[in-house]
Amino acid sequence: MTKPKSAQAGSVAGEKVRLEVRLSGFGGQGIVLAGNILGRSVVLFEGKNAVFTQSYGPEARGGACSADVVISEGTIHYPKVTHPDILVFMSEEAKNTYGKLLEPETTVIIDQDLVRNEGLEGRCSRLLSVPATRFAEELGRKMVANIVMLGFLTAVTGIVRHDSLQSAVLASVPKGTEELNTKAFEKGYQYGQEGEGGERG
């Protein structure tokens, strides 16, 4: 498998490399939907290839759950994430379950109110944090924390364009929630753009 040479996922976006993203959290946080939206944004709005797989089963309804998105301009054969370039944790349990995948070159993003830094510092290339769930609560619905997270991820990694992801959000969320989801996405995106959430390397 061709792996990005650079340690920073954001800086390799656009090259013909295999980029592996794992989103994780607990069932009900919208992790699977977030993975679907990320994959959809790449395929439908950027013309690149993406494969989205999910942890499927009882664990998707409570317990640690994950969504894998592999992105490439070339053909994607093996569809699973084994060497994540980007790893998102939205729960402690997810960190404990999937933390073993961490590599020195991985970019890690956490929901800072739900996940502690312990065990992450020094084990990855970048550790970024966003209060995604708190922002979602401030917007009135905790359930859009996944979309806040996607906004932040878009801003800090550059793996997908702002407009592509926004279009995919609008194409995926239930009717009547477009405005709320757009706000959630912009909130996360701006927080990332402003340089909040940790050093950008």
């Binding site: 679907n36 439908l44 494969v51 989205f52 797989t53 499927y56 089963g57 994607i76 054969h77 569809p79």
Partner: protein, 383 residues
């Protein structure tokens, strides 16, 4: 209801299950009977939603035995019909799949394989039903089974499955797996005018002269359906060309030999394989379905390190490409590596054909597909 809802032309981000449902609709399927089962439920869900949009019928039956019976009935009523299930349901369908073979009933049966035996691993991948697809119902009959490796192929192959079922008058099996069924990827649905749509071949003779089970030169009889003015008698018993039961060795010889031969003798037309770098290969990796994706990556890795490794992907596992494997074995290849998510079902077939060559089975029992590294290790071991 608008008919142009049957082909959703455009670029989509779909999982394999949804792609199968869309492929079926695009092929003209208008009847689905089934019983939901993980990991095939998404097919039933999508058909339940989509069939009414195109004036089709969706029925959830009491079980898989009844589902398969309803699918056969709908086909004899003149519709393109299908069902979708997974291992435990596939086992229950076997009796009526055999009936479909005996009555030469075109239809499509989808099996999204999960880990078995029994209820096994409802939510996790397996490829353990390959031999069941070939030999699962009692008696001898010819079988066609297609194994997609992506959602796009799931769409394309479902259309092909309907075409083949009409062409050869048998239940055709789309043998996919949980990984492909639940995996999302780009699916391009072409314009309707570019899609193949095979019509059922109808008898030319008058009702008084038509023999509904006379195979003719290509061994496949034209099919008159209920309500088209022809007298019909269809039965699971061994029958003569009129369709009447005849319990004798002679009738059995004539009928069952034809049921097998109509597939055997057309095997070259039916079989689809994809090869890369096999001509000068020392080692050939043979794979199908989900595991083909890992295998392809392994082959690339091995080639980068200078090994002469070829790749052969089965798009149809049945009929099995015996001749091609024999040819490659005779060409002086050192051996074959066969990864599959079972304990060696297609590996046995390869072994049967690759006389005198090494065959290394790389079996996983289910729950996960091979990483490319596992298959690469096997390649290194053989080299």
């Amino acid at each position: 209801m608008s008919k142009d809802r049957d082909v959703l032309t455009g670029v989509h981000f779909l999982n394999g299950d949804d792609a199968i449902a869309e492929g079926a609709l695009a092929a003209g399927c208008r009847f689905f009977a089934g019983y939901p089962i993980t990991p095939a439920t998404e097919i039933a869900e999508r058909m339940a939603k989509r069939l009414p949009e195109v004036s089709g019928v969706y029925i959830q039956m009491e079980d898989e035995i009844a589902s398969m019976a309803a699918v056969l009935g709908a086909s004899w009523g003149g519709n393109k019909s299908m069902t979708a299930t997974s291992g435990p349901g596939f086992s229950l369908m076997m009796e009526n799949i055999g009936l479909g073979m005996m009555m030469e009933t075109p239809c499509v049966v989808v099996n999204i394989m999960r880990g078995g035996p029994s209820t096994g691993l409802p939510t996790l991948v397996g490829q353990g039903d390959v031999m069941q697809a070939r030999w699962g119902s009692h008696g001898d009959y010819g079988v066609i089974a297609l194994t997609p490796s992506s959602p796009q192929e799931a769409f394309d192959m479902t259309i092909e499955a309907f075409s083949l079922s009409e062409r050869y008058r048998i239940p055709v099996i789309v043998l996919s797996d949980e990984l492909i069924g639940h995996m999302y990827e780009r699916v391009v649905i072409p314009e309707k005018k570019f899609l193949p749509r095979i019509r059922r071949r109808k008898p030319r003779k008058a009702p008084s002269e038509h023999l509904p089970f006379q195979g003719g030169e290509d061994l496949v009889p034209p099919m008159a359906c209920a309500g088209e003015g022809y007298r019909l008698h269809v039965t699971g018993l061994t029958h003569d060309e009129k369709g009447y039961p005849v319990i004798s060795a002679e009738a059995q010889e004539r009928l069952v030999r034809r049921l097998c031969d109509k597939i055997r003798k057309h095997a070259a037309e039916i079989i689809r394989i994809e090869e890369e770098g096999t001509e000068d290969a020392e080692i050939i990796v043979v794979a199908y379905g989900c595991v083909a994706r890992s295998a392809r990556e392994s082959v690339n890795m091995a080639r980068k390190s200078g090994r002469r490794v070829g790749f052969l992907r089965l798009l149809t596992v049945w009929p099995f490409p015996e001749e091609r494997i024999r040819e490659l074995a005779a060409n002086g290849v050192k051996g074959f590596v066969v990864p599959e998510v079972n304990y060696g079902q297609i590996a046995g077939e390869v072994e049967r054909c690759a006389v005198g060559r090494d065959v290394l089975m790389v079996g996983l029992m289910g729950g996960a597909v091979h990483t490319p590294e596992i298959i690469l290790e096997a390649i290194e071991e053989m080299a």
